[in-house]
Symmetry: C2
Subunit: 376 residues, 2 copies
């Protein structure tokens, strides 16, 4: 056989193998769908964390037996398992309660409101939506409600809390999804005599499902009355973290306010410096490409939304001023060409970060390789 024919034959062989793999993935998907259906029918939790780890370990071993890199195999398995979870988004979920609960989402037509209404209904509960157009229906809804969740833009949430609380039964649970917690929690406690709980779902409205997403819970008053909601979040596959509201807000100022401000600073500086992002891509390593994309994506979204996040309150603005003063300090090193000073500060951060820095080096190595596969 000529060299050319031999290569052609092998190419066909690879195509055949790929078709067989796709067939197996299809069968696997069907079996998983059936398992999920059975589990939901029998009120069993769909995803069991321990089982997933066990499965991963055994898959790694089997891969290694075949001379396949176990880290690669784990990535592959996680992709397959994530696809199973995504497929579940249209499915039913078990309910955390025997009797269905009645939950009102205020701002129910927004992204987060629509998402949680869908999950609420998929678990057999009854969801209500209050938005700009139907506020007049509140009186009719109020007597039925077990729980009210405020999920409106951050700059109006306090007003909405004050407006809605007086209309509720004393035993209705009042909760909110605002991304800061101290102020809304205080407003809810002031305005409502019944159970109060502050929630912060740490994800955007465009996730394919809630599996593995994080729900922050801050106790307000009698928050054990909302244990069934917590349980429901777990049945949706969420991770729960109980947090102190001021600690939560302290972190969020940095995570939300500072990050989005720095994104504007970056984009706006590129504009001033006339660095066209498309030209930058020509010179980009995969990781810088990813950073550019993370900055770029913000400017495809609503300016008002980001302004609300950055200008949420005085504390957040104060943090940005502190950050600016910090920048000023470091800038002196640059002005004085003080390379030693830079190295001293760098090493102090290394000490502060401790083991985290080397963990980050390993973990980001994975990320950089995945990005190189995809984006170069």
């Amino acid at each position: 056989m000529s060299e050319k024919d031999q290569l052609k034959k092998q190419r066909t062989q690879i195509d055949d193998i790929d078709e067989q793999i796709l067939d197996l993935l299809k069968t696997r998907k069907d079996v998983v769908q059936d398992v999920i259906k059975r589990k939901v029918e029998n009120q069993l939790p769909v995803f069991v964390a321990g089982r997933e780890e066990e499965k991963t370990e055994s898959f790694r071993r089997k891969a290694a037996d075949r001379g396949i890199d176990p880290d690669w195999a784990e990535d592959f398995l996680r992709m397959v398992m994530a696809a199973s979870r995504a497929a579940q988004s249209a499915e039913k979920f078990p309910s955390a309660t025997e009797e269905p609960k009645h939950i009102l989402y205020v701002g129910g037509e927004g992204g987060m409101g629509s998402l949680y209404r869908r999950f609420t209904e998929s678990s057999g509960h009854i969801s209500y939506s209050l938005d700009k157009g139907n506020w007049y229906q509140l009186e009719e809804m109020a007597p039925k409600l077990d729980m009210v969740i405020i999920t409106v833009p951050i700059n109006v949430s306090i007003d909405v809390i004050r407006r809605i609380a007086p209309k509720l039964k004393p035993d209705t649970i009042l909760a909110d999804f605002t991304s800061n917690k101290s102020e809304p929690l205080k407003a809810m406690l002031d305005a409502h005599d019944g159970p109060v709980v502050g929630l912060h779902p740490m994800h955007g409205p465009d996730v394919p499902n809630l599996s593995k997403q994080l729900m922050v819970i801050c106790s307000g008053r009698d928050s054990e009355k909302a244990d069934w909601f917590r349980e429901q979040c777990i049945l949706w596959g969420m991770r729960i973290i109980e947090a102190n509201p001021s600690k939560h807000d302290h972190v969020m100022h940095l995570v939300q306010g500072l990050r989005h401000f720095v994104a504007l600073l970056h984009g706006s500086f590129m504009k001033e410096y006339d660095l066209n992002p498309n030209e930058m891509l020509d010179y980009s390593s995969p990781i810088y490409r990813a950073e550019l994309m993370m900055t770029g994506r913000i400017f495809a979204q609503d300016a008002e939304l980001y302004a609300d996040i950055v200008f949420a309150n005085k504390e957040r603005r104060d943090l940005l001023l502190t950050f600016f003063r910090h920048h000023q300090t470091l800038m002196e090193m640059v002005e004085n060409d003080d390379k030693r000073g830079f190295i001293r500060e760098f090493e102090a951060v290394t000490d502060f970060f401790g083991k985290f820095a080397s963990q980050a080096l390993t973990e980001s190595g994975y990320l950089i390789n995945r990005l190189a596969d995809r984006f170069s």
Copy 2:
């Protein structure tokens, strides 16, 4: 059959499918290895870009036929293809020339020097290394050299160029790997009368192989004499971009200087604000986790190296001062609680970014999902 037995049976079925997939992946790997071996023996390029795209398209179609999300399938295929490339790192590469070339790497014991020496040897050329300990060997090497590549820390590269150039034959190609290009290129042209070319391999020393990595080439003098090296990079699987040195440096000030300075600013601010990265992780969405990891990884590395990058030259320091003044301007909005000003600036960036912003939103969506699979 009881519900429990049925679930157990299905679990076994999934495990069986996974073993079959692993078997197929193993066979696929063996076939690919054999293809690569044959291609190298026959001096054929190992990876053909068009072929990869064609393969991807047909794989997407076949996945869709089976009800599998084609985007997911493409990610899967890219993972498989990347693993094939990685497996090649220990293999031989075709040579771009009939006669082997003699290449000296100055700084040959460093990360980049070692990496390129290995690839040089794997393609049948002869590599030499000059480093702190064996400078005395230069005289003996010089008459044999077709090409010299300076790959030393940025702050000493000009000195090394001036020191080495007078020892070279006039027809030896002088090149460098420095991450800025204008100054080293000028120094090489001044110090050497023969062919000169500026190179910037846009990747770190820890990549598994050179496939899909970017090599920036800046013409100096008679740079067509280095066409065989360019050809060799393509045979290693690299992408080539020809660049104007000052345009390249303009972009690099931002990509290298500013990014690493901002990383220090971020880390150092976390230290001041006493925000422990491990605690932050509790509150992190996958994408913020990735950002933290990208900042954290820097502090597991050498402070001196980053100081060299940030303080490379006056232009780069000037850029950082411009950046600081820009920060000052935006800060006034925060001081004055000028949300409208923020929105105006945001919208100006949206206009400047144009279509890039929506492209970024789509592309980063992929990234965020992959991160959620892995890190949550």
